[in-house]
Amino acid sequence: MIRFDNVSKSYPDGTEAVRDFSLQAPSGQTTVLVGSSGCGKTTLLRMVNRMVDPTSGSVWIDDDNVADIAPVPLRRRIGYVMQNAGLLPHRKVIDNIATVPLLNGTPKAEAHRRALELMELVGLETSMANRYPDQLSGGQQQRVGVARGLAADPNILLMDEPFGAVDPLVRADLQTELLRIQRELHKTIVFVTHDIAEALALGDQIVILAKGARVAQAGSPQQVVAEPADEFVADFLGLGRGGLDLHLRETPGGTLVVDGHGRPAGRLADPPRAES
């Protein structure tokens, strides 16, 4: 479990990125921090692995205050996946994935064997192991990024808009894969995004943030959509602007689901598919 206790972050120039933020991210679940750019969500994420230290308040992993753990060893036991994957362009795919185990002193052969397993886990052909990042597509690079985040078998995975730079089809693919991997591995994931659809698709817990990392609402996807806490949340979800207000409309081809503007959002599956 990750716990934020009244953390704040202000900078010498007076800007206040985070003000008095508290939250618990339960173990084995995915917590999504969602908000517009500049709301402080990335700052919160980086407090967990001490890329940013809070000005006041504390961040806890289980019973340890992260401030008491040296940054470098702390980072090596927490997986981190970022936008554009952040791969090292001068290392082959297999070495990129094995970076942290190698830093931790795992023998090379074992680290490589594990890297190949991870490639399979994230849906990459192992024949790509000896390529360089520049020779992969954006989606493939992102998969390598996820595999690298998992390489040291961390309990915690931090994901900073990891799928923000790939096209929508690939993004949907990667989201599905992440859900599958999470069903297998049960990591404690903190996921940052500005895309509400992505948040609803991936989160067990959704935290909608306003400026200064004020928690506008926290709850399950069902809760935030069914009972938005205030105007801000409703507006962010697109409720009232037609975004998530869906209706059924009968057409000769079947029952369509349409949004508030009458634009088709999907088709009503008949008979309704069972929840997986």
């Binding site: 470098v72 090292l88 830093l103």
Partner: protein
């Protein structure tokens, strides 16, 4: 052609002397430029000062530097050490800028992600930043190598043994073939060293070729 064949041994020994002056200077300017360039790249306030100083160094004509340096350092004018120090200064003038640009060219996302992975500051420099700065460093080093080899010849005006003596001697005795031989030998030597650097770069930085494929 006749002159060349008659003087093969002379050309060979001058080439060796030439290399013994140029190679240490090239290596030294590279090794010294790295920390200076790193400092300029990481401490913004020092960048302009260091780069301007390097630029002005380059404005000093080489011949007087060869002559004046010994009066400051206590070498003899014709000592190899004197020539090597002067050439190293010129090499630094070019290389500090390259090193600063090269290290600054390593993207912020890569720095960030390697920090997040748990690299220590030193580990990040040696294993991530330095290799990624490699291609720009190599480009700078190639310029330094070629211009150093060409610049060595000026020291022959003081009687220092290298390929430049072929110009001085040929000019004074009116032997066109000798001057021409000196020019061609210098250019060929520079191009050979340049080609060797390119090969070295390919061996050390395999990812740069893979990306272009």
């Amino acid at each position: 052609m006749g002159w060349v064949l008659a003087n093969l041994e002379l050309i060979g020994s001058r080439t060796v002397s030439h290399l013994l002056l140029a190679v240490p200077a090239i290596v030294l300017s590279f090794v010294l430029a790295l920390p200076l360039g790193w400092f300029a790249a990481t401490h913004q306030w020092s960048r302009a000062t260091l780069l301007t100083a390097a630029g002005l160094l380059y404005a000093i004509p080489s011949l007087p530097l060869f002559v004046v340096l010994p009066t400051i350092l206590g070498f003899g004018v014709r000592d190899a050490a004197n020539v090597i120090v002067a050439l190293t200064l010129y090499g630094l003038a070019l290389m500090v800028r390259s090193a600063a640009d090269a290290l600054a060219s390593v993207g912020a996302p890569v720095r960030l992600s390697s920090t997040a992975l748990g690299y220590s500051a030193a580990g990040r420099f040696w294993q991530v930043e330095l290799p990624l700065a490699g291609p720009v460093l190599l480009a700078g080093l190639r310029v330094v190598a070629v211009s150093t080899i060409s610049l060595v010849t000026v020291s022959s005006l003081l009687g220092v043994d290298n390929l430049g003596l072929l110009f001085v001697d040929g000019f004074q005795r009116g032997i066109l073939a000798e001057v021409l031989t000196g020019i061609i030998a210098t250019v060929v030597l520079a191009l050979v060293i340049d080609a060797l650097l390119v090969l070295l770069g390919r061996a050390l930085m395999p990812w740069t070729r893979a990306a272009r494929r």
